[in-house]
């Protein structure tokens, strides 16, 4: 493992600074990093995510009305599940910052989610739900 002396750290820091000055668009335009390396999206990105969420919700509600019931229940359920997962992912990734935060948080949450889904799928199967 390489050791970092104060001098080398300073040199690296200076190098980082010069890199940042040389490449002002190193980060994506809608993100910027804090001192801890955890990037924060801009408020405009949050607004865009909220607009997508609102549009997905509107489309979900649209599927409820009689005019689309000719599509069949299975098709509607598949569409609703896809839209639900999209909304779920948008909130978790952007509003909860998992896209920008440490992967440990992501793993902890997904572990709980997958465990819950597995346990209750088994439960529903045992009760012959399907």
């Amino acid at each position: 493992m390489a050791t970092v002396t104060p001098d080398s750290a300073d040199t690296a820091h200076a190098s980082d600074e010069s890199m940042r000055e040389a490449t002002p668009t190193a980060h994506a335009p809608e993100e910027h990093a804090s001192a801890g390396g955890h990037a924060h999206p801009s408020n405009w990105l949050y607004v865009k995510v909220a607009i997508y969420l609102a549009l997905l919700t509107a489309f979900e509600v649209f599927t409820y009305f009689e005019t689309v019931h000719g599509w069949g229940d299975t098709a509607i359920i598949i569409m609703l599940v896809i839209m639900m997962l999209l909304k779920f992912f948008l909130v978790v990734a952007f509003f909860m910052h998992l896209k920008f935060d440490s992967p440990i948080f992501w793993r902890l949450f997904v572990f709980g989610l997958i465990l819950a889904m597995a346990v209750y799928m088994v439960m529903l199967t045992a009760f012959r739900f399907w």
Partner: protein
């Protein structure tokens, strides 16, 4: 709307290099998946177990009303992220405004749920009327209780801020409560689809 660099630059001297409080919140939210998974699967299992003359989902659900409630809760997640970003850049006044807006939207959602429960009860669907009623009230009631706890936490933050005890150095506290609030929102995303919108 522009964003500035967050003011908080604290490092976490922990074995993981991450905040223990934030880690604990994520573990808690992971465990909450099991709680709501149990309630949702119980609802799915029991929603069709009603007699021919019993009150069922098609008799009581008011989709346009619940859609507006869902939209209100979704938008409260937007105001919550604004609260987190405003405190991170040291904008205390903005933080108070967004916290108050989030709490107000949360109160609107809970008020809508109370109205919905009252309407369902007057239409003959009580907690013990049938298995659908029990599963529905247990699931949405637990969610409503979570929203109410979130509102209490938001109001506590607001009081702390007004007393001068919530500065940029405590931005992570707002972020952690924000995580809880967003979790309540994603649970509702699932409930709204499975309970209200799935063809009955």
């Amino acid at each position: 709307m522009t964003a500035e660099a967050p003011a908080h630059t604290e490092e976490h001297h922990t074995s993981t290099g991450l905040s223990n409080e934030k880690l604990a919140m994520w573990v808690f939210l992971g465990s909450e998946c099991l709680l709501f998974g149990g309630l949702i699967s119980t609802y799915m299992f029991n929603k069709g177990r009603i007699g021919p003359d019993d009150v069922g989902p098609n008799d009581v659900f008011d989709i346009p009303f619940t859609s507006v409630s869902s939209f209100v809760l979704l938008m409260s997640s937007l105001t919550m992220v604004f609260a987190v970003s405003s405190i991170a850049r040291g904008d205390l006044r903005g933080n108070r405004i967004w916290l108050a807006a989030t709490a107000a939207l949360g109160v609107t959602f809970v008020a809508g749920q109370v109205y919905e429960f009252t309407a369902f009860y007057s239409e003959g669907l009580g907690f013990t009327t049938n298995l659908f009623g029990s599963a529905f009230y247990a699931l949405t009631g637990f969610h409503g209780a979570h929203v109410t706890i979130g509102i209490v936490m938001l109001m506590s933050l607001l009081v702390m801020s007004m007393r001068g005890n919530l500065g940029p150095e405590r931005a992570e506290t707002v972020e952690i409560i924000g995580l809880y609030w967003h979790f309540v929102d994603i649970v509702w995303i699932v409930i709204f689809t499975i309970v209200y919108l799935f063809p009955q």
